[in-house]
Structures are given as structure tokens and as C-alpha cells.
Amino acid sequence: MHGIAYDATHDEVIVPVALADAVLVFRGGADGSEAPIRVIQGTNTKMIRPHTVTVDEQDNEIIVGDSSGRSVLVFDRSANGNVPPKRIIQGPRTGLLFVVGVAVDSTHDRLIAASAASVPGRKTGLFIFGRTDQGDVAPRAVIAGPKTGIVRPWQLASDPQRGKLFVAAINNESHPPYQLEKPRTDLPHDVQLPSPWNSGALGFIGVWDINDNGDVPPRAIIQGDNTFLVHPGGVAIDPKDGEVFATDSIRNGLFSFLAPNLFSERSQTQSTLGNGTTRSAR
């Protein structure tokens, strides 16, 4: 499982199961061999490989990032069984390819997807859509480029109150030698693909504003040898206690950072909705 979300309003845990095209919902505090309370699975769901998930507690929706479908699928929070999504963001105009992270900012009415691409002409970065966008739509903003430091993004976490977006930039290089069951024909027999011990740039946890756009550096960054982070894939936040949490695949571990200054002020800029205002909290 490469994703997980906690719904504090309804006290539920949501996890995607990539190898069975399913999204499972457990009661909060579930333990041991406990069955889920809901299962989203089947051909109607349009899921091919649900990789990551988040929950919009304000709008009662579960958002799924599908790495094989190159899509973001939005389900009703209470969806159960072989049900179709309420909305799908998918298609060449979206810029989405290998979707590995999703987040929602219901205050600024934004839906954010982290997507990686090794196909020429396609971007790796953060694709920011309107929360209710659907179909083959262009993103409202794209945070991507060398100044961002994002070589390969992974999980996202949103702080709608302050309009901040936390990004786990895992940044390890991925050069899959196979296309499904066949070796890639564009690689020579003696190719030396990066070793897991020496691949890519150092990863980090980066913080962007929800209104950022283009090739812009993060507004804050947790990176370096003091942090212990090498290739962090997971990120979560506890704004109340001013903490940022990260998992790291190289360390095979979990880290907690105390950074209250990241949560001490409101976003400097307002989201630009169609009417030029932010959504009011409900």
C-alpha cells in the first residue's frame, strides 16, 4: 500500500490496494484482522491501480490517484461496492501520468495531484486543479521545474487553513527495466541502471503555497543529513502541535519534525476562484 488517509470527522481510515484495484475504509482504531466497513472495487469504479488516496471531510468525498489510469477519481465518501466515481480528471490536457499523490484544499477549492513522467514533453510535479474539475481539463497551475527540486514526488498533505501544501519529494530515480512482462527494448543489454544506494537527488519535505505556480522553489524545506531523510515517500501533518511526519524508504523508518513556524501564519495570498474569493469554512 502506497497511500493512506485518516478522516477525523467520521473517524475512518482509508487505504488503497493497488494489487486488487480496491479502496478500503476501516473504522478508526481498527486493529488486527478486522474487516473494512466499506470496499470500493470493480469495473464500474474505473480504477486500474489505485496508488494513493485522500479524503475531503468538508465535501464528503474520497479522492483516489490512479497511477495506471493516469487519473484522479472522486468518489462519494460513503461509496461502497462496484460504484462509479462522481468525477474523473483524466486525459492528455490534464498533464497527469504516473499519479502518486493527491491532496485537497476545500478552503481554496483546489485539488492537487503529484504526477511523475519520464515521457518526453511531459512534466513531473504538482498539478493543481479546481476541486470540482472533471474530464480532460488543463490544470489551473503546475509547480514543476528544476527550481522546485522535485525529481520524483510522492505523498502530499494539505493545510487548507494556511493554504500550504506539503510534498514528500522522494527523488530516487526509477528506471524500470521492464514494460510489464517484457524487458524494455530501448535499453542495451549491459545497461547499468542506478543502484538503489546511489540513485537520484536527495529527497526532502517541501512546502508550497496553494497559489504557487511554475518553476518556483519551496517556501520551506526539510532536507539534509541532520534530518536523517534520504528518500522520504510519506508526509503527514499535525498543525495543532506544529509537527510534520515523514516516512523514508531507505531508512525504513518514521520521523517527526517539530516545526511550529510552518503553521503559525495564514497564507499570504488568497486563492483565485472564479469569483476571486476563497471558500468560507463551513
Binding site: 500500500m1 502506497h2 497511500g3 493512506i4 485518516y6 481510515v13 493497488a18 494489487l19 486488487a20 484495484d21 478500503l24 486493529d31 472495487q41 464500474n44 486500474i48 491501480r49 497511477s67 495506471s68 489510469g69 493516469r70 519520464s118 528544476p146 510522492w154 505523498q155 524500470p176 527495466p177 521492464y178 514494460q179 512482462e181 517484457k182 524487458p183 541502471l193 538503489p196 544506494w197 546511489n198 503555497d209 519551496p218 517556501r219 520551506a220 524545506i221 532536507q223 539534509g224 543529513d225 541532520n226 534530518t227 536523517f228 534520504v230 515517500g233 509537527e243 516516512t247 524508504s249 531508512r251 525504513n252 523508518g253 518514521l254 517527526s256 519534525f257 517539530l258 516545526a259 510552518l262
Partner: protein
């Protein structure tokens, strides 16, 4: 509904790991209202020594990390930088996964997913001590290409070790028998993502691997290297393969047996290298959970072949089956049944919804999230590699029920908890319970 329940039996096993990790997080992050600020010695060397996974730090060198472009310098800038963690959960010890025996050379090898290594022990090592059992050798370090390792296999004739990387590195690294430390593999073979188990056939000079996400077996030449393609694959809806793990080649009966968890899907395309599939042409077959199984194929099977036998159903007690091994002398199959902390033994020719011939399970056994199992016919022993405890256990070959092991190999002092993490790529914060949730 029964199948859904079975689904659950299999799926919930993931949750054992998931919530096992959660439990450790809770343990590790207890008292979080009073943060513990770690302090570090100033010199890099001293810091590495203080770091419980110090050898993993060295891979980016002493020059320190890359320096990213300066954060935005507008009013929204918030500097954080090299912030040390106030708490962390890292398991500094190995965790056993795959296991293989060589009774002729009197050694046992186990893969280590946590520290990313291969450990070789004397076959007679271990005992009742609570102390760490010293390995003979350990292959570990940035040169080895060993990462998120799963299966391990040996070729006693050629004196070679095969290490299968699972969920990052997409390759098998091959070493000489007495390899030790941080060294390059003598050759490597690139394999599909999420390859897990491996078994050699010396007679045919071939090896077979299992591939989780493709629900596939792939057979290669034993000496394959680089980008060499498999000789044949077994894959398709008739195979009954669903998230396969442990695999064993029965040379005498010319069969290949494989354990499946029960997660079934179709996943094309699947990497960042693959272009967008045009709308309407996606492969949306819909995933499903099927009961865990052991399927046996003819060794020359290829394509969408049906298994010649299948063990599957509620009577089998299969529950997230991991490694398997064959006892050719007694015509039995041993299974590391991760989901209910047991080892199941079936007759080799068993089929259908059969009960196991023997089950090793219970508090006395010490079996905890077993990943690997190996049968030593010569010494009449059965080995179990635990993932949920820092141990490998040795039982009498015909042990049954809630029985204590004969001896224990420890990779950490007795009582040391395991992290439970397996390549953690995500985290969530449960604000109601003040807990962190980490899926594997």
C-alpha cells in the same frame, strides 16, 4: 459473502503489518506532548556512529546533501532547513525474510529487508541464549545492489548466492558463496517490478521467479544477466496466480509450486515511462480478492496455463502465504503462513480444499509474521524466518501444534521489538488518537 470474508482474511493480514507498525509508532511516539530533542555530535563520523543506521548514511558521501535552490524570498518564506527529527522509529537490526539452507556446506542464508543485506550463518548456530547470534558473513552496503530484498537462493554446485530485490531495485544480484561486506555482485539480472520469490533448477540450468503485481512466474536461464528476457512466463486468468510470493521448483517431479496471496488485478500501463493510454482503451478489468492458494504447474508450462493442482479454500488455513519449501524425502510442502503466525505442512500431492497435514502454531512456537521456511531433511529440522520478531526458529521437521523451537538464531537481543516497516511510502495522522498510521 464467503469470498469477501476470505478476502478479508487475506487483506487483514496486511493490516497486521500495518497496525503492527502503527503499534510501534504509538510506542515510539508515546509521550509526544513532551518532545525529545535529539542532539548530535558535531563531527560527521561521530554522528554516523550515533546513527543507528549509520552505514546507510554514507551512500551520499561526506560532502553532505545537495543544496537546493534558495527558498522563495518573499514574505511567505519560512526557513526550516536541516531540522533534526524530534522523534524517530528506526529498527537498527536486521529483519529476516527469505531463507535457504545448504546442508552440505553447513550454512543457512537469510535475506534482511530492514538493513538491506544477506546474512550467512552456520547451520548449527543459535541456541537458547538471549544474545545476538553472530553471522559468518553479511553482504551489505552501497556496492551490493541489495535493497528491498525478498527471496534468496543458492547454487551449491557453483557456489553462488541469488538475492531478489522486490519493490525498488528491479534486479537479482548474484554473489559468490563467501561474499562478505560491501562488494559488487558478480552479475545482475534485471527483472520485473515486484519480483519476490526465486528457485533454481540445476538440472535444467534454469531459475524461476514470482512477480507480485503481474501475477506471473518467469523462467530464466540460470546464468542470465543484464537485460536478458525470460525463456518463458506463466501469466493469465487461467493460472489462478494472484499476487504470488514463495516459489519452489520440484526438480524430481518436474513441477513448479507457488503461493499466492489472493490480490488480483491487471495493471497496464504502470510506470512513468509509459505514455497515456487513449481514452476508452484502458485495461479496466476490475480487481478482485480471491482466496489464497498454492498452485502447482508443469515445469514447462507457459502462457495462460492452468495449474495441474491447486490447494485453496477455507480448510487449508492459508492466510497470506509467503515462502514455501519442498520436502522431497517425505513428499510434503511447508508454508510460512504469515497471516496467522503459523507454518502449514501439506502433502505434496494435496489438492482442493484440504486440511494441512500439520500446523505449527501457538504462543510457545515463537512464530511471528513468518516470511520464510526451509526443510532440512538431512538433520530432520524445519526452519522458520520471522519478520515480526528478530529471530529464526529451528523445529523438529515433524513438529506440530504449539511447541517450542529446538533453538533460535537472533539478529537482535531477545525482547527487541521489530519496526514492522516494509518500505513505508505513506503516513497519516490520526488526530483523534494522536497516533500515526503507516501502511507497508
Amino acid at each position: 459473502m464467503a469470498s469477501v470474508n476470505r478476502v478479508w482474511r487475506s487483506l487483514s493480514l496486511r493490516l497486521i503489518v500495518f497496525f503492527g507498525a502503527l503499534g510501534l509508532c504509538f510506542f515510539g511516539f508515546g509521550g509526544r506532548r513532551v518532545p525529545i530533542v535529539l542532539t548530535y555530535p558535531s563531527s560527521p563520523l561521530a554522528r554516523l556512529m550515533a546513527d543507528p543506521t549509520g552505514d546507510m548514511c554514507t551512500w551520499w558521501g561526506d560532502s553532505g546533501p545537495n543544496v537546493l535552490a534558495a527558498p522563495q524570498s518573499n514574505a511567505g518564506t519560512i526557513g526550516v532547513g536541516q531540522l533534526p527529527p524530534v522523534r524517530y522509529v528506526i529498527d537498527p537490526y536486521p529483519t529476516f525474510n527469505g531463507i535457504v539452507l545448504d546442508t552440505h556446506s553447513n550454512r543457512v542464508l537469510m535475506s534482511d529487508e530492514n538493513r538491506k543485506s544477506v546474512l550467512t550463518y552456520d547451520r548449527s548456530a543459535g541456541g537458547n541464549s538471549s544474545a545476538v547470534t553472530s553471522p559468518m558473513w553479511q553482504i551489505i552496503g552501497p556496492q551490493t545492489e541489495v535493497g528491498f530484498i525478498a527471496g534468496v537462493e543458492i547454487d551449491p554446485q557453483r557456489r553462488e548466492i541469488y538475492a531478489v530485490n522486490n519493490d525498488v531495485e528491479d534486479r537479482i544480484a548474484v554473489f559468490d558463496y563467501d561474499a562478505n561486506g560491501d562488494l559488487k555482485p558478480k552479475r545482475h539480472l534485471y527483472v520485473p517490478h515486484q519480483s519476490w520469490g526465486i528457485s533454481l533448477n540445476g538440472s535444467r540450468q534454469e531459475m524461476v521467479i514470482s512477480v507480485q503485481q503481474l501475477s506471473m512466474l518467469a523462467v530464466y536461464r540460470r546464468d542470465s544477466n543484464g537485460m536478458e528476457a525470460p525463456l518463458r512466463i506463466i501469466k493469465g486468468s487461467h493460472t489462478n496466480l494472484a499476487d504470488p510470493h514463495g516459489v519452489r521448483w520440484d526438480v524430481n517431479h518436474r513441477e513448479i509450486m507457488v503461493a499466492s496471496h489472493g490480490n488480483s488485478t491487471e495493471i497496464a500501463p504502470y510506470t512513468a515511462y509509459d505514455a497515456q493510454v487513449p481514452a476508452g482503451e484502458e485495461s479496466i478489468l476490475g480487481g478482485e480478492f480471491v482466496p489464497p492458494s498454492i498452485n502447482v504447474f508443469d515445469e514447462m508450462a507457459r502462457g495462460d496455463a492452468k495449474p495441474v493442482r491447486t490447494i485453496q479454500g477455507p480448510n487449508t488455513k492459508l492466510n497470506w502465504p509467503m515462502g514455501i519449501d519442498l520436502d522431497g524425502a517425505h513428499d510434503e510442502i511447508a508454508v510460512a503462513n504469515n497471516g496467522d503466525n503459523s507454518v502449514l505442512v501439506f502433502r505434496r500431492t494435496a489438492r482442493g480444499n484440504v486440511t494441512p497435514a500439520r500446523v505449527i502454531r501457538g504462543a510457545k512456537t515463537g512464530i511471528s509474521s513468518p516470511m520464510g521456511v526451509a526443510v532440512d531433511v538431512e538433520h530432520n529440522e524445519l526452519w522458520v524466518a520471522n519478520y515480526g520478531d528478530h529471530t529464526a526458529l529451528v523445529f523438529a521437521r515433524d513438529a506440530s501444534g504449539d511447541i517450542a523451537p529446538k533453538r533460535i538464531i537472533r539478529n537482535a537481543p531477545a525482547g527487541t521489538p521489530t519496526g514492522g516497516f516494509g518500505n513505508p511510502y505513506a503516513v497519516a495522522y490520526d488526530s483523534k488518537r494522536d497516533q500515526l498510521l503507516v501502511p507497508n
